[in-house]
């Protein structure tokens, strides 16, 4: 059984290699765009059909964001990024469970290279998402409370203890890059390996409960990524002086 930690390359776009995970991510993106266009065509005040379904999803996400930020205006500012992160991750995760992903491929130099692989089973994708999330947190923090106050959380010379705590905060911000990317990558890649191994041991019937687990894990990981970004944004836009103790 061939399991590759890194996503396999299946082509080139100039100097940039195209991996099978990238191809699946593109398909997920096109899927989301098409769904978006279809559900917002002929918008009705009383939603019906697919517009109704996606209004349910938007309401759920809006409630999740509002519960933490507690301020309608700010929610509207941060909602697009958080909802996009959630929809992108969940579309990638669930698309990676369809039959054909990981099984349809080409034989090259005696090895089997699948044409499609779950989008987030490539550390590059999850690292890109983590970079977007962490950089957005910094930008939102600076935009909300100003550069001086925001950098004052990390570098302040009031007393030696605050200085040390500031350095620790800085390190913890950087460690979020690692934790975001590895949490998502590990969950999805381990799920793929688990399904492959179980299908190898108990064909046809064995993978069924594990598919249920993977559907659940795909949803939870998208939710966790979004909620963690949300909580960190909330912490970044809070001014220390006005924090209630």
């Amino acid at each position: 059984m061939e399991i590759s930690l890194a996503a396999e390359k299946i082509g080139h776009l100039g100097p940039m290699p195209i991996t099978n995970s990238l191809l699946t991510s593109w398909i997920a993106t096109i899927f989301l765009v098409v769904i978006g266009i279809i559900s917002t065509r002929n918008l009705a005040m009383i939603p019906k059909g697919i517009q109704n379904f996606f209004e349910m999803i938007v309401e759920f996400l809006l409630k999740t964001v509002d519960d933490v930020i507690q301020d309608e205006e700010k929610t509207k500012k941060y909602f697009p990024l958080l909802a996009t992160i959630f929809l992108f991750i969940i579309a990638n995760n669930w698309l990676g469970l369809l039959p054909g992903v990981g099984t349809i491929g080409i034989h090259e130099h005696g090895k089997f290279i699948p044409l499609l692989r779950a989008g987030n089973a490539d550390l590059n994708t999850t690292l890109a998402l983590a970079v977007v999330a962490v950089v957005s947190i910094q930008i939102f923090g600076i935009l909300a409370i100003g550069f001086a106050k925001y950098s004052g959380k990390f570098i302040n010379f009031k007393n030696p203890i605050s200085f040390f705590v500031g350095i620790l905060e800085l390190i913890s911000e950087l460690s979020r890059l690692v934790s975001f990317s590895f949490r998502l990558f590990g969950n999805i890649f381990a799920g793929e390996v688990l399904l492959a191994v179980i299908a190898y041991l108990l064909p046809f019937l064995g993978p069924l409960p594990f598919y249920a687990l993977e559907i659940f894990v795909g949803f939870i990981q998208a939710l966790v990524f979004t909620m963690l970004t949300l909580v960190f944004i909330k912490m970044a836009i809070t001014d220390h002086a006005t924090e209630s103790h």
Binding site: S4, V68, F182, G186, N187, V193
Partner: protein, 76 residues
Amino acid sequence: MNPESIGSLATAAAIALGAIAPAIAIGMIGAKGVEAIGRNPEAAGKIQGPMILAIAFAEAIAIYALVIALIIKFVQ
């Protein structure tokens, strides 16, 4: 012992030892969360949010251990 058997042992040890603490942690978080909901059923929604977040943090440690195990096994 040849490198291959040490590699297999290392893979097993990495994930086995690395999953002990997160498992205990998630159990404790779940227990406290469910107890809090039992004391105050109306606040169930408010307790659920931070509880899931805390469980995700704890699970991430187990995932780090799993990734190391996978790297040992599949990267020559």
